[in-house]
């Protein structure tokens, strides 16, 4: 008992958010507030074609008629949607051609965050080390995308969404909003109206993307939200692994991040999508500030035998509302969801997945590890459903929650809807705390309390960590450890 | 007794048995040996009629009677018994209840009178003692929470209770320590008789030290590629399956 108590106290006293600095640069802002003119402003800033503007305006109209959802186990003061900037960009021009044109302060920011934007920096790494291409999104714009040329040689399109709208309108028109319809939900609809930037990936038939793709999202500006939109299409027999990372400065006001991610896989294609989310979580004592992370992520496994795997490590944000999902439409398609969600201080997370089995012999697997500490609240919410036609559907779900301290909460809310007699769903969930005995055992062998806690928690989340691409797994493990220092969880 | 001729069988879309032929006369014990993936377990499932194992051509007869159109329980009533490589756990059904239900179903199918409870229990006690099975264990749900060795012993117990005419032992030695192996083999050998025959499927020669075969067949690539006397098993133990795997 004493050991846990001390650890909890020790841990609460540590400084933990390492990415809370602000980059001081000149920025372009849209005026505060939200109306049709702001939507036109954003579209004009991005030199968008008329069809894109029309799409946004239609979304805005619909959004006005919708209500904010209230079913998640999170509570926060009403958001004043008029009290935010819906566009913020560094005062450089959009569409930079070389890194030399990028504001050195921004480059410095990414360097501090450990994100390699110079291809030679990546290339100069250890021989044989995996390389990855980066799209860097700073507030509302993509500042640079690396390795574009090399990827283009094999036919892979990797660029910012703004560029895709200009350069690949046919693909964008065909797929944008086809997985997450404009009025799918309140936040997705808001995103459709005001989305700023994000990444676009198209992998042509038969191509295995030769490197990891990643996007690094940074919110920097004050009083602004980030509304990125990402669209990834893996055509027949294509494969791509994609990773996103997110950080923001420490600020006293809440900032809204309402992203939409759409994935499409055709026959035999596979997308592996990993997220390491470390938005500023707000002040651990007062709960002041922090990002509202209201995100809609969904994959449409259209093709037979196609596969999508979501892996997420969620350590940041003051509120997380996020359910990366798979629509398993193609016969024999499969979906996976691996999640680590850590809440501490006053954080609230309501996250999970939906696996919608529509096609025959579809499979899904859900492994969720939630850790709550401090005065936080951590909810797993998931849906597994099988349509009458989804004969032979299989799901396995394992949801484990770990509680650290007396004032946190952990909830498990799974929905299971089975509508045919040839599917098999299995769900297991446990809620426990860090074992005194294990802690003592580890400490008796010489580990400090902190090390012992880290060791045990790493064991608890291991199944998920190992799903991350190697180079990010190490980083994620560190992040878990840092969050542990500050949360023992 | 059992006659298999030019048997082809598929699982899903894959053909596993590709023209397998074998004859096991009454009174004999034949061993089938082969590398992993040769189709050994498939053969045992095809003979017993497991759903999902489709015979595309060929014949299987027991004493001249065509087995292939029969449901698994009808084949069982004809005296065909498979000792499973991985015996199933049946939660909620005590072992004795299960075996008695099976025995009576078989007797009924053969038009014989059902066995009364006292006679059944006497028989069960006697057979359990021979196989060194704790009688209390038979009151528990069949195989639930049993160790690998206990499950195999329970297979042999069921075999003794049902007294089948044709026995298929699928990797019966796997997971058994030397004492358990001896008990199991004694149980099997006790059933050897001029009216019965057996097919012993195994990867290793070890079991054949205890259950002596009259003939040994090598199964590779979905068909029998070699047959011989007991010495063939020793040769396989020494030289491995490489020669036959290549031939297949």
């Amino acid at each position: 008992m004493a050991a846990v108590k001390q650890t909890v106290e020790h841990v609460a006293s540590l400084e933990k958010y390492k990415h809370g600095f602000v980059t001081d640069i000149e920025q372009d802002f849209a005026p505060k507030g939200l109306n049709a003119d702001i939507v036109r402003f954003i579209s004009a800033k991005k030199n968008e074609p008329q069809w894109m503007l029309d799409w946004r305006l239609d979304a805005f109209e619909r959004w006005l008629a919708m209500d904010e959802p209230d079913w998640a186990k999170v509570s926060f003061p009403r958001i004043d949607y008029q009290d935010s900037h819906y566009y913020a960009a560094p005062k450089e021009k959009v569409g930079i051609n070389s890194l030399d044109e990028v504001d050195p302060d921004i480059l410095e920011t990414y360097k501090k965050l450990g994100i390699p934007l110079r291809e030679q920096e990546v290339l100069a790494g250890v021989i044989g080390s995996p390389r990855y291409a980066v799209d860097a999104v700073f507030d509302s714009v993509s500042v640079v995308t690396t390795f574009k040329k090399e990827l283009a040689q094999v036919g892979v399109i990797f660029c910012s969404m703004s560029e895709a709208i200009r350069e690949h309108p046919e693909l964008v028109k065909q797929y944008l909003g086809s997985v997450v319809p404009v009025s799918d939900n309140y936040f997705a609809c808001l995103n459709a109206a005001v989305f700023s930037d994000g990444s676009f990936v198209y992998v042509p038939p038969g191509v295995r993307c030769p490197m990891e793709l990643s996007t690094y999202f940074r919110i920097n500006a004050e009083n602004s939200g980030q509304f990125e939109r990402t669209l990834i299409i893996a055509d027949r027999q294509a494969y791509v692994s994609y990773l996103e990372g997110c950080t923001a400065p420490m600020r006293d006001e809440n900032q809204l991040h309402a992203a939409v991610v759409e994935l499409v896989t055709m026959d035999d294609a596979e997308i592996k999508y990993s997220t390491v989310q470390n938005w500023y979580p707000g002040d651990p004592e007062t709960g002041k500030g922090g990002i509202y992370n209201f995100v809609t992520k969904r994959a449409d496994c259209r093709g037979d035998r196609s596969k999508v795997s979501w892996t997420q490590v969620e350590t940041g944000s003051s509120i997380t509302w996020k359910y990366p999902s798979c629509i398993l439409r193609g016969e024999g398609s499969s979906g996976e969801f691996y999640s680590i969600a850590i809440t501490n201080g006053r954080q609230q997370a309501d996250t999970g997945t939906k696996m919608i089995h529509l096609g025959a012999n579809t499979r899904s697997r859900i492994i969720s590890k939630g850790i709550s500490a401090g005065k936080s609240s951590n909810t797993y919410r998931g849906l597994v459903s099988a349509h009458p036609k989804a004969k032979g559907a299989r799901n396995f779900t394992q949801c484990d929650s770990l509680l650290i301290g007396k004032h946190c909460a952990a909830h498990t809310v799974p929905y299971i809807e089975a509508r045919n007699g040839h599917s098999k769903f299995e769900h297991e969930a446990t809620t426990t705390r860090l074992s005194e005995d294990q802690l003592f055992y580890a400490m008796q062998r010489g580990l400090s309390q902190e090390e012992a806690v880290q060791l045990l928690v790493n064991g608890f989340v291991k199944e998920v960590l190992q799903e991350l691409p190697m180079e990010f797994a190490v980083e994620a493990q560190k992040l878990v450890a840092i969050s542990l220092e500050g949360s023992v969880g | 007794m059992l006659s298999v001729s030019n048997l082809h069988a598929t699982v899903g879309e894959t053909e596993i048995l590709k023209g397998l032929s074998i004859d096991v006369p009454a009174g004999e014990v034949h061993a089938i040996m082969g590398p992993n993936g040769a189709g050994k377990s498939t053969l045992s499932y095809v003979l017993t009629g497991r759903p999902g194992y489709e015979v595309t051509s060929g014949t299987v007869t027991l004493d001249g009677e065509d087995l292939l159109p029969m449901a698994p329980n009808e084949r069982a009533a004809k005296g065909l018994f498979l000792s499973f490589q991985y015996p199933l756990e049946i939660p909620g059904v005590p072992a004795l209840t299960f075996i008695r239900t099976a025995l009576n179903a078989q007797l009924k199918a053969r038009g014989e009178p059902e066995i009364a409870a006292p006679a059944f229990l006497r028989l069960a006690r006697a057979k359990a003692a021979e196989l060194k099975i704790d009688f209390e264990m038979l009151k528990r749900a069949l195989n639930v929470g049993f160790s690998g060795g206990e499950k195999k012993r329970m297979e042999i117990f069921q075999m003794a209770m049902l007294s089948p005419r044709f026995l298929i032992l699928d990797e019966t030695d796997s997971g058994l320590d030397i004492d358990a192996l001896r008990i199991v083999s004694d149980g099997v050998n006790a059933l050897r008789s001029p009216e019965r025959a057996m097919l012993v499927i195994t990867h290793y020669q070890r079991l054949l030290d205890y259950i002596k075969p009259d003939r040994v067949h090598v199964l590779a690539g979905g068909r029998i590629v070699a047959s011989g006397g007991p010495e063939l098993a020793l040769e396989l133990e020494r030289d491995g399956y490489d020669k036959y795997a290549r031939a297949a």
Binding site: G421 | G49, N73, I90
Partner: protein
């Protein structure tokens, strides 16, 4: 508005609908546009009930009524409680059960209907310290009936409460149990069995709130659905702040034996204390084909093997009934429904 209040106000539009989270899979408002007329008093003869022989105290409510069941300190009682609907009207029952310290009660409850009735039963059940209650509910409704039973159970420390619901569904059938669990070595068993065919629907909903140290809850529900039947299981265990050393386990396992049957489940944990051991498991699927083949290989015909395996599946819940005679009734009921 609650079901009871909506019926009292005779306002169909106030019935819960699928927009209410608790009723998402049992939509009454969408089903009932107009409330049936209040049931007429019934003066006919009532045939024997399933549990009559097992009790010395018989309470029969036909088309609505109120009954109180009180067991004095350290006394024992066995009550057969029959909630009967005759005809197609609307009515409400109220049942108040209280057990003084150390009292013991076998409450054997049946729901019986013969047509398109709409019946609501509100039960309040209170157990004082050291009291023990076993409640066995046999909900044998008519396929056109709508039956809603809502029990509010309050336990004192060291009380012992066991419950088994047996239901074969109806047009809509909801058996709801809410338990205020004080911890303090009070123990709770909440079980259920459903066997559904045709277009029948049943809904087993429970909410257990652990409010103090050292409480246990063991919950097991199993069901079999066929044809176009639909089963709903909603189980929620809440462990309040400070309710440490709670041990709560919930299992729900269902077999779907046809292409068009449906099972919806929501096993929920809401935990505000860290020193707890809570778990739930949920499985939905067909009968295990491997086990079926195994039984057939031993000579058991397929239909018989199926019946044996499904009965064994359900039997694991029935076996947890403490009162042996009630267990026999339950077993016979399950066998009859499964072989129907």
């Amino acid at each position: 508005m609650s079901v009871a209040a909506a019926l009292k106000a005779r306002n169909a539009s106030a019935l819960p609908s699928r927009r209410d989270e608790d009723w998402r899979w049992t939509d009454l408002r969408g089903l009932i546009r107009v409330l049936p007329e209040p049931s007429a008093p019934f003066n006919g003869i009532v045939v024997k009930g399933a549990f009559d022989r097992l009790a010395d105290d018989h309470r029969v409510l036909v088309n609505g009524g109120v009954t109180r069941i009180e067991v004095a300190a350290d006394r024992k009682a066995a009550v057969a409680l029959r909630l009967i609907a005759r005809g197609a009207g609307t009515h409400a029952n109220q049942v108040i059960v209280s057990l003084a310290a150390g009292a013991r009660l076998r409450l054997l409850e049946t729901y019986e209907s013969d047509g398109g009735s709409l019946a609501h039963t509100a039960l309040t059940i209170a157990l004082a310290e050291g009291a023990a209650l076993e409640r066995v509910v046999l909900a044998a409704d008519h396929e056109d009936a709508v039956t809603i039973s809502q029990a509010q159970v309050t336990l004192a420390p060291t009380a012992d409460y066991g419950q088994t619901l047996l239901s074969s569904g109806a047009r809509r059938q909801r058996l709801e149990t809410r338990v205020a669990h004080p911890g303090g070595r009070a123990s709770l068993r909440l079980d259920g069995v459903y066997v559904l065919a045709g277009k029948r629907h049943t809904d087993h909903t429970s909410v257990v709130t652990h409010q103090g140290l050292d409480g246990t809850t063991a919950q097991l529900t199993k069901g079999v659905v066929r044809d176009q039947a639909r089963a709903v299981f909603q189980g929620k265990i809440i462990v309040s702040e400070g309710a440490d050393h709670t041990d709560a386990r919930m299992g729900h396992h269902a077999l779907i034996l046809s292409d068009r049957a449906e099972v919806d489940a929501k096993p929920e944990l809401e935990i505000y204390a860290d020193d707890v051991a809570c778990a739930h498991g949920n499985t939905v699927g067909a009968l295990d084909e491997d086990a079926l083949f195994y039984a057939c290989q031993r000579g058991i015909p397929e239909d018989e093997a199926r019946a044996m395996l499904t009965e064994a599946f359900i039997g694991q819940v029935v076996d947890r009934i403490w009162f042996e005679d009630a267990r026999k009734v339950a077993r016979a009921w399950a066998a009859e429904r499964l072989r129907a």
